[in-house]
């Protein structure tokens, strides 16, 4: 099929008549497409999320840097994306407060605002595959990064007068799952945000339009989208999401309220399905921690025998995907490459084996093992478990 080269709506009329081959032949010989009200993606580029019934995964292997385009931000929802009228939207805050109040979207936007570039990751973010034919998107594409803008929850807490005795709050969405999670009040005072903007513009519907809770560094599910209600309480509510789901077996126990996302890194290039050629390769990837900044990333090109410091691309932000790079000359030998991150608390990303031994479980939420890429003599790259 012929590639559609018409690139802006207003340019359609201009270009439609010109046969494609002619056009691409020498772009200096024909006027191009005039400016448009909205920019376009090149018709030669088709980054797509990988979808399941309940999620869509960011194509990490196709991306560069630390910002995820908003339309490629991963999705995980429990009964679809609701349509919410921003004109009638309100956020109710009640329970253990002096004054139960409702805030319209325009109220929220008028309060002092805050902005931060921060990752959001689903705690179910790990998959493997025995035959190795699995891309970063499928391994851990349930993480994305945006600039999030909104009002600090603490600002609203002051406004309603949260009781000093309140220890938890319930966050409730207005999707068809009426998603609910219990969150410690301390997080609300610390750095929780009611976010209404993402990467410059209104939050996208898939990310909680018109407003969501955003808990920096914490598992995505707790950052309840399409937020309609916050109830202050002196105990957790033990919702289905924090009991039956989003808990993980650890030895003979089930671990609950494991909010913070452990440090993880992944090499996104080279990675399946790329095939590499002999010579210099810049190994690239992202690393992050819900506990603070990335301290260092190490890369091994000899299956974990030795490790070298990767270069961290500034800015190195708190609770944020950090881009790392490591220059490597591949001489054509069969090998395994892998990365491991250390966060500023001193936590070193474990191997798969270390994790399963520590937890007595081979999977579940909050599973963040080092992932390795096997490279064959022909340059083929396949996932390998560690």
């Amino acid at each position: 099929a012929a590639v559609v080269i018409v690139q802006t709506a207003s340019g359609k009329a201009v270009q439609a008549a010109i046969p494609e081959a002619k056009y691409l032949e020498d772009p200096t010989k024909r006027p191009g497409v005039p400016p448009g009200e909205l920019g376009t993606r090149s018709s030669f580029e088709k980054p797509l999320k990988k979808i399941s019934d309940t999620s869509s995964r960011t194509p990490l292997q196709d991306l560069y840097g630390i910002i995820t385009p908003s339309d490629l931000h991963y999705e995980r929802h429990h009964n679809g994306v609701p349509a919410i009228d921003p004109g009638t939207y309100e956020l109710l805050i009640h329970g253990m407060v002096d004054k139960p109040m409702a805030f319209s979207l325009s109220d929220l936007k008028r309060f002092p605002s805050v902005s931060r570039i921060c990752f959001l990751e689903c705690s179910g973010n790990y998959r493997s595959q025995a035959n190795g034919q699995i891309a970063p998107q499928e391994i851990c594409g349930l993480t994305s990064q945006s600039e999030w803008i909104g009002v600090k929850l603490s600002t609203l807490f002051r406004e309603v007068g949260v009781s000093p005795k309140a220890t938890w709050f319930l966050a409730e969405g207005s999707d068809a799952a009426v998603m609910t999670r219990s969150v410690p009040v301390s997080k609300g005072w610390e750095d929780a945000v009611i976010a209404y903007a993402q990467n410059g513009e209104a939050i996208r519907p898939e990310q909680g339009y018109p407003a969501r809770l955003f808990l920096p560094g914490w598992e995505g599910n707790a950052s309840v989208k399409w937020l309609r209600r916050i109830e202050l309480s002196d105990a957790p509510f033990m919702t289905r999401e924090e009991t039956s789901k989003y808990t993980e077996p650890v030895r003979d126990k089930y671990r609950q309220f494991s909010f913070v996302m452990d440090a993880r890194s992944i090499i996104t290039y080279p990675a399946y399905p790329a095939q590499v050629q002999k010579g210099w390769i810049e190994i690239r990837g992202i690393a992050w921690s819900g506990r603070g900044k990335v301290l260092q990333v190490e890369v091994s090109t000899d299956a974990g025998k030795t490790w070298q410091q990767a270069h961290l691309q500034p800015p190195i932000l708190d609770k944020a995907h950090t881009y790392f790079r490591y220059l490597w000359e591949w001489k054509g030998e069969e090998t395994e490459i892998m990365s491991r991150v250390t966060d500023e608390t001193g936590y070193l990303q474990p191997t798969y084996r270390q994790l399963t031994e520590a937890r007595g479980a081979s999977g579940g939420y909050h599973f963040n093992p080092i992932t390795a890429w096997w490279i064959g003599r022909d340059g083929k790259v396949l996932f390998r478990s560690t």
Binding site: L92, P112, T155, A235
Partner: protein, 169 residues
């Protein structure tokens, strides 16, 4: 950013105070201590009929199997039907009985969430607790009795105590 907060006025004068009546319309959650449970009651037998009509298509006959996973502990876990999450049923993995009520009321049936009456939710809760061997067939579930049900999985739940640092846990 601290500096900002210090300069904040006592109030920004935004938002509106809401009445208890307004709150009641949205305040559908139920806590383990029963706070939030509405009037009404139900028993397993009533719930069984409802379940067959509204739930079995997704969660299997008797709560075992079905495309959306089992809700009931099954002794026939090796059956060939797609029995996803048999190890994580209400009987084996749910620490609080109130959560069953809360979740069904807010989210089920999946294709018609929010369509059940409180009475129906009590009935379905009673049915699923009984089918999982947690309560007797005749036990009435209401705002009094439901919070008192002790779930088999309860003792296995622990709160995360990790604080960062080198330990792998």
């Amino acid at each position: 950013t601290h500096q900002d907060t210090l300069r904040y006025p006592r109030t920004f004068g935004l938002g509106r105070v809401v009445s208890q009546e307004e709150i009641r319309k949205l305040d559908i959650d139920v806590r383990p201590d029963g706070l939030g449970l509405p009037p009404g009651s139900g028993q397993a037998a009533e719930g069984k009929l409802l379940y067959a009509r509204k739930c079995a298509v997704c969660h299997g006959e008797g709560g075992v199997g079905g495309p959306s996973g089992s809700l009931v502990t099954s002794t026939t876990a090796t059956a060939p039907s797609p029995q996803r999450r048999t190890e994580k049923t209400i009987g084996t993995y749910w620490p609080y009985a109130t959560t069953v009520f809360d979740y069904i009321r807010r989210a089920m049936p999946f294709n018609e969430p929010g369509s059940l009456s409180n009475q129906e939710v009590y009935q379905l809760t009673a049915y699923l607790l009984h089918a999982n061997g947690v309560i007797g067939e005749q036990t009435v579930m209401d705002a009094e009795s439901l919070p008192r049900v002790v779930m088999p999985a309860r003792e296995r739940f622990v709160s995360d105590d990790r604080q960062g640092g080198p330990e792998i846990k």
